[in-house]
């Protein structure tokens, strides 16, 4: 069996919805033992988000929850109670990483802050994933995924074009910035693990979801400070390249360089309109953009998005079908890469899940278990690992602590 990059790393995850849990999922895919701690009875609110099989809501069948919690073990624990906190302390003593997403003031109240946790375990790494980070006047502000996407400046840029009478947009899928934050937390958490092997001590990783989005949009956001230009949606006009219509939807083509234009002309068999000398250079194509796009669409509207993409790519012009989720699932490319892994779940059934987007030759991602059912590993963790007796666990259940 191949080795795992994060073999032996024990992670406690006290996070909900997408940002923190996606970090946990990424670490778990690389071989970390991630134990997710949920509130007794209700669990992670992601369990109430769909999609659900046959559109019937069920806490064990949420597509969102199942995707971001793959490969983890799960326990329930009420960390608001003194007994719950004592058990948590025991778990922290044995952990390498604690992932948490409470507002800083609440984390402090619950003893989930870095000073408290590092007093229990000097080596522990605490990764905090919050809307605005650990410091500053907004540190305890509330923000859902929609709010952080706009807090980070990306929303204001979307959608490009003449839409100023309509509201700026959230990223597709509903949790784009949250996934970004999980990925950022993953990078920084492994960096802290790498550092710990040298320095011998843990540290506090501070992830502000706002800053994650600002960093990802940094090249556009710094235009104001560097050149006095406030970019808006109106500046992002569609031009060649852009999203163009075809028979069954849309195709994205990017003609950024002259050799791409030459490839496009070749792909279309050099029609008279395309060999117009005004279009030979970028500037001319930009000035006549509307006309160029109309002529192109007259050709593309007679073809499917896949035909258009393949014809252009074979000739060396960058193009991509605007895929919907069903197209992505059926993509011959993603199938050839083995991107989707099929996993069974006792309640939800068998589905294909997106796997890690990277392939490591020596330590590939591994998929060993579906997302945990609520409290599935209580016996595993509290009895087998912490040494509680079955009778004690029963008492904790009766007290609603587990």
């Amino acid at each position: 069996m191949p080795e795992k990059a994060l073999e032996g790393v024990r992670v406690l995850e006290l996070c909900e919805m997408v940002a923190g849990p996606y970090c946990g999922r990424l670490l778990a895919d690389m071989g970390a033992d991630v134990v997710k701690i949920e509130r007794p009875g209700v669990g992670d609110p992601a369990r109430r988000y769909g999609p659900f099989p046959g559109d019937v809501p069920h806490a064990e069948k949420s597509g969102l929850f199942l995707y971001v919690n793959l490969n983890k073990r799960g326990v329930t624990l009420d960390v608001e109670t003194p007994t719950g906190r004592r058990l948590l302390t025991e778990l922290v003593r044995r952990a390498d990483v604690v992932l948490e997403d409470r507002p800083p003031r609440e984390a402090q109240r619950l003893g989930l802050d870095h000073p408290t946790l590092s007093a229990v375990n000097k080596q522990v790494i605490v990764s905090s994933v919050t809307p605005f980070g650990q410091t500053g006047p907004y540190a305890d502000f509330k923000a859902h995924a929609l709010n952080t996407f706009h807090a980070g400046g990306e929303g204001y840029f979307l959608p490009g074009g003449d839409w100023l009478d309509r509201p700026p947009l959230h990223g597709g899928g509903g949790f784009l910035g949250d996934y970004d934050s999980g990925l950022a937390a993953g990078v920084a958490t492994i960096a802290a693990l790498y550092d710990r092997a040298i320095s011998g001590h843990g540290q506090h990783v501070d992830i502000s979801r706002q800053e994650v989005l600002m960093s990802l949009n940094g090249l556009d956001l710094t235009k104001w400070q560097n050149s006095g230009k406030v970019e808006t949606r109106a500046d992002r006009v569609p031009r060649l390249g852009s999203t163009l219509r075809c028979k069954d939807g849309y195709v994205e083509i990017n003609v950024n360089f002259n050799h791409h234009w030459a490839a496009l002309v070749r792909a279309l068999d050099s029609p008279a309109w395309a060999t117009d000398e005004r279009y030979a250079y970028y500037k001319g194509r930009l000035e006549n953009d509307r006309e160029v796009r109309a002529s192109f669409e007259a050709w593309s509207m007679a073809r499917t998005k896949r035909e258009v993409m393949e014809t252009l790519q074979v000739n060396g012009c960058p193009a991509g079908a605007v895929n919907d989720p069903a197209d992505v699932l059926a993509s011959p490319q993603l199938q050839a890469r083995g991107y989707f892994v099929e996993m069974g779940h006792p309640d939800a059934g068998r589905y294909k899940y997106p796997s890690a987007p990277w392939k490591l030759s020596a330590t590939p991602a591994s998929y060993e278990r579906a997302a945990p059912r609520l409290g599935e590993h209580n016996t595993d963790v509290f009895c087998r690992e912490l040494g509680l007796t079955p009778a004690e666990l029963t008492d904790l259940r009766r007290a609603d602590i587990v």
Partner: protein
Amino acid sequence: MSDAYQQTTGQTGAARLPLAGVRVLDLTQMGAGPYCTQLLAFLGADVIKLETAERARLLKGRSAQPWALDQLNIYKRSATLDLRNPEAIRLAKSIVPLCDVVVENYRPGVLDRMGLGYGALRRLRPDIILASASACGAQGPYRHFGGFAPIFSALAGLSHLTGYEDGPPTEMRMSIDLRVGTACTFPIMAALRHRQRTGEGQFIDISFVDAIASLVGHVMLEPQMTGRSPSRSGNKDAVMAPHNCYPCQGTDRWVSIAVGGEQEWCAFCGATGHPEWATDPRFADAYARKHNEPLLDALVARWTRERTAPEVMTTLQRAGVAAVPSFDSRDLSDDTHVRERGFFIPYRTQEGAARVAAGPQWRLPGTPTDARERAIPGMGQHNAYVFREMLGISEDDVERLTNDKIIS
């Protein structure tokens, strides 16, 4: 190690950065690859950007303003080699044994043809980590596809899912490049951690399309679970209402508001001075609010329109309701919170002009917040460091290689 660290951060006495002492050979171009190595540099790695006249050509390009792409080169070193020349390849190979990680984003197969594929690099340094990133990855029928950011997000399903219900798909650009760049950094960190424990290097193959598809991964379960392939839904959420961007005082000024659960809803009604909404049967519970969302949105917009976006944020946050303006770049540069955290990093161009760059996506002790002490490297600025100091080539030979345009 401490030397590498000081040279990387220019700071002494600050916390040690995690990748101090790790050297990265950067063969990337455009936006995604350079952002990946920029993140490694922010973590303390010594990044040597090996480049040809390519950067100068790109920077002269019509749309890219010099400071835009150049701000991805903070803390890097620059050495120039014309890799079309066999002698330049030999020189590149002599740098490899002195490096821990090599990152590249040529199309699959190009590095092999240059004689710098994983097999060759491994012979030069058995524990080398090679990260190869491309539009669709190194395997599969589309492996030769070329692409830019909007194509990755189109193929991955993100463009289709972003937009108004009655509008076209949304094209996304630079942020997509930086997202896939981050997706290159993660497996490099995992591979470094593995090497630290076992001494084993490895080859990493990253697909930009897969990287973006993972950021909408839960949506891929919907066709399987319901038989429907979902589409654009504006700012709507499956559960919450209100959940939208609402117009505020001023031109093109907006605030995002998301109200989750009964407690937040009651707080929202109180804070807006409309307690009657809480008892209105049309908004009495989550189902009713979702059902009457257009009407609810109109009422909320009537309230927000009378106020500035920061006012709405302050009023609602005080009541525990998630409200944040849809910030533009000027708002963020002036914002007290952003300023207090020191997110934007001042730096200097090669010519000495003062600029700012975006900071990294995390804060660790020692994460730099000021980069003025070390300007963005000019093309080949560190040729002497790389060829003379690291490789020990004589001054005469370096001069000959420069005259022969091998060091270009």
